[in-house]
C-alpha cells in the first residue's frame, strides 16, 4: 500500500505540473491561432457544401432544409405567443 500511495502522490504532482504546462501552451496564440484557423476553414467548407446542396435542391422546386427549419421555428414561435396570451388572459381574469 505504501508503494501505491507514494506512486499516487507522484502522479498527482506530475498531473498538476503537466496540466499547468499544457494550459500555458494551449493559451499561447501560436497554438490557439492555427487550431482556430482549422476550425474556421472546416466550417467554411461545410457551409459552402450545404449552400450548394440547398441551391440544387431548391432548383428542383423542393423546400430546402433551411426553409423547413424556418417554418417549424415559426410554428414554435406561434405556440409561444399563444401561451403568452393565455398568461395575460389568466392575469386579467384574476384582476
Amino acid at each position: 500500500m505504501m508503494i501505491w500511495d507514494q506512486w499516487k502522490k507522484g502522479f498527482d504532482t506530475w498531473e498538476q505540473k503537466t496540466a499547468d504546462m499544457l494550459e500555458s501552451v494551449l493559451k499561447s496564440p501560436t497554438v490557439l491561432q492555427p487550431m482556430t484557423g482549422l476550425l474556421t476553414s472546416t466550417m467554411k467548407v461545410k457551409s459552402a457544401t450545404e449552400k450548394a446542396a440547398a441551391q440544387w435542391w431548391g432548383a428542383l422546386g423542393l423546400p430546402t432544409k433551411r426553409e423547413q427549419e424556418k417554418t417549424l421555428h415559426a410554428l414554435n414561435q406561434i405556440q409561444s405567443r399563444l401561451i403568452d396570451l393565455e398568461e395575460r388572459l389568466a392575469e386579467l381574469k384574476k384582476n
Binding site: 499516487k8 494550459e23 491561432q33 476550425l39 474556421t40 427549419e69 417549424l72 414554435n76 409561444s80
Partner: protein, 376 residues
C-alpha cells in the same frame, strides 16, 4: 482483491440509475419542460418554492444525479417544493432560438409558473453554471418574482484570461461562420473545448478509479457522473452567437451594455438576497468570474462563498451533502420564514411511462404526467 474484481467487472456492472427522484411535468413548451419534484410525505414546510436552473449545455439531472448524491432529493427532504427546468434537446429548427427567447421567454415563464403556485407569487431561484448567468440576467430585468437568488459556479465576468476567453477573442475565431455552418452548435465541439481546459483530466479520472475501485459506492457515483458527463446537448446557434459575442467577446454584462429583449441589463437592479458560490478548483468557471456577481449586483443582503472542490464534484457528491447543501438551506432559512407543514400538493397523475428518447406527454398546465423516467 475487491479492487481488481470490481475493475474486471466494470463493463458488466449495472449502470447506476440517474435522475430518479420522482417528478412530474408541471409545464412544457417547445422542447423545455418544467419538472416538479414530488413533495415528501410530511408535506412542504417552506412557503416559497425553489426553482433549479441548470446549464443549457448539460442535462438537468446533474442536480438529481442519484440517491444520496441528489441536490433535488435533498431539498425535497428538507421540505421544499422543488422545481427544475429540463431544457431538453434542441431540434434542427431551434437554431433560430435566440437568447431573448430563452432568458426572457422560457426562463421568465418558468419563474412565473413556479411563483404563481404560492399566494405571495415569489420563488427562490438557484442557477447552476450557465443557468446562474441566465438567471442573473433575467433577474436584473424582471426581479419581481424572485425571492432570493443563489448563483452556483455561475460566470459573470467573462474576460478573465481563461482559455475559453482567449479562444473566443482570437482574431481568427469566426463565430458567424461557426453558427452558420453548424446551426445548433454541436456538443462535441463544446465538450472538446472543455476538455482542453484540463487535458490531463481523463488520466486523473483513470487514476482515481484505480485508487478507489474497491469502493462500490464510489464506483456507482463515478459511473453516474460519467453517464451524465457523456450525455451532452447541442446549443441553439442564435443563442450561442449572443452568448459568445456579447458576453465572452465584449463582456457586456459587467459594463452594462448587455440588452435583453431591448432592455438594458444592469446587474445593480438585481436586488433580491443573493449568494454567489465559487469553487477553488473550478477550471470551467474560475472563482473571480463567479464572485464578480457580488460586486455587481445591487442586493443589500449579498454573500460570497468560496469552497474547496471542482465545478461538478463540489456540487454533486456526498461531501457536498455535508458541506455545501446545508449552507444553501441555511441561506433559504434566513430568507424565508418556515410555516406549519402543509399536506403534499395534490397532483392529478396520469401514468404515461416515458419511452427512451421520447419526451413524456404532458399538458401545459396543472395536469401533470408522471415521469419517473424523466432523465432517461
Amino acid at each position: 482483491m475487491k479492487r481488481f474484481t470490481n475493475l474486471l467487472s466494470l463493463a458488466t456492472r449495472p449502470k447506476p440509475q440517474v435522475g430518479i427522484t420522482p417528478a412530474d411535468v408541471f409545464f412544457s413548451e417547445n422542447k423545455w419542460r418544467l419538472l416538479r419534484y414530488r413533495a415528501r410525505p410530511e408535506g412542504i414546510c417552506h412557503p416559497t418554492p425553489l426553482l433549479l436552473v441548470p446549464s443549457l449545455i448539460n442535462r438537468h439531472y446533474v442536480l438529481d444525479l442519484m440517491p444520496g448524491k441528489s441536490f433535488a432529493e435533498y431539498m425535497v427532504a428538507q421540505g421544499f417544493d422543488v422545481f427544475c427546468i429540463d431544457w431538453g434537446t434542441p431540434g434542427d429548427e431551434d437554431r433560430y432560438v435566440t437568447f431573448d427567447d430563452i432568458v426572457d421567454g422560457a426562463l421568465g415563464r418558468a419563474i412565473r409558473q413556479v411563483a404563481k403556485t404560492v399566494p405571495h407569487e415569489k420563488t427562490h431561484v438557484l442557477g447552476y453554471c450557465m443557468g446562474g448567468t441566465l438567471t442573473a440576467i433575467h433577474g436584473a430585468v424582471h426581479p419581481e418574482y424572485i425571492q432570493s437568488f443563489i448563483a452556483l459556479a455561475a460566470p459573470v465576468k467573462f474576460n478573465d484570461g481563461s482559455l475559453l476567453s482567449r479562444w473566443t477573442n482570437l482574431k481568427g475565431f469566426d463565430l458567424d461562420t461557426l453558427v452558420e455552418a453548424t446551426g445548433n452548435v454541436p456538443w462535441q465541439l463544446l465538450q472538446s473545448a472543455f476538455q482542453l481546459l484540463r487535458p490531463t483530466l481523463p488520466l486523473m479520472k483513470a487514476m482515481n478509479l484505480l485508487d478507489r475501485a474497491w469502493n462500490d459506492e464510489f464506483l456507482d457515483g463515478f459511473l453516474a457522473l460519467e453517464a451524465w458527463g457523456n450525455d451532452n446537448v447541442s446549443i441553439p446557434g442564435e443563442f450561442y452567437r449572443t452568448f459568445i459575442k456579447d458576453l465572452y467577446q465584449q463582456d457586456l454584462l459587467l459594463t452594462g451594455g448587455f440588452r435583453l429583449k431591448g432592455r438594458k441589463v444592469e446587474l445593480k437592479n438585481l436586488v433580491c438576497p443573493t449568494l454567489a458560490v465559487s469553487f477553488e478548483h473550478d477550471n470551467i468557471v474560475p472563482g473571480p468570474s463567479a464572485a464578480a456577481l457580488i460586486d455587481a449586483c445591487g442586493a443589500v443582503d449579498k454573500q460570497h462563498l468560496h469552497l474547496p472542490g471542482g465545478h461538478v464534484g463540489a456540487v454533486v457528491s456526498k461531501h457536498a451533502a455535508k458541506t455545501l447543501w446545508p449552507q444553501l438551506v441555511a441561506f433559504y432559512a434566513k430568507h424565508d420564514q418556515p410555516v406549519v407543514a402543509s399536506p403534499a400538493p395534490r397532483i392529478e397523475v396520469e401514468v404515461a411511462p416515458a419511452k427512451k428518447g421520447e419526451p413524456a406527454r404532458s399538458s401545459r398546465h396543472g395536469r401533470a404526467v408522471r415521469t419517473s423516467a424523466v432523465a432517461e
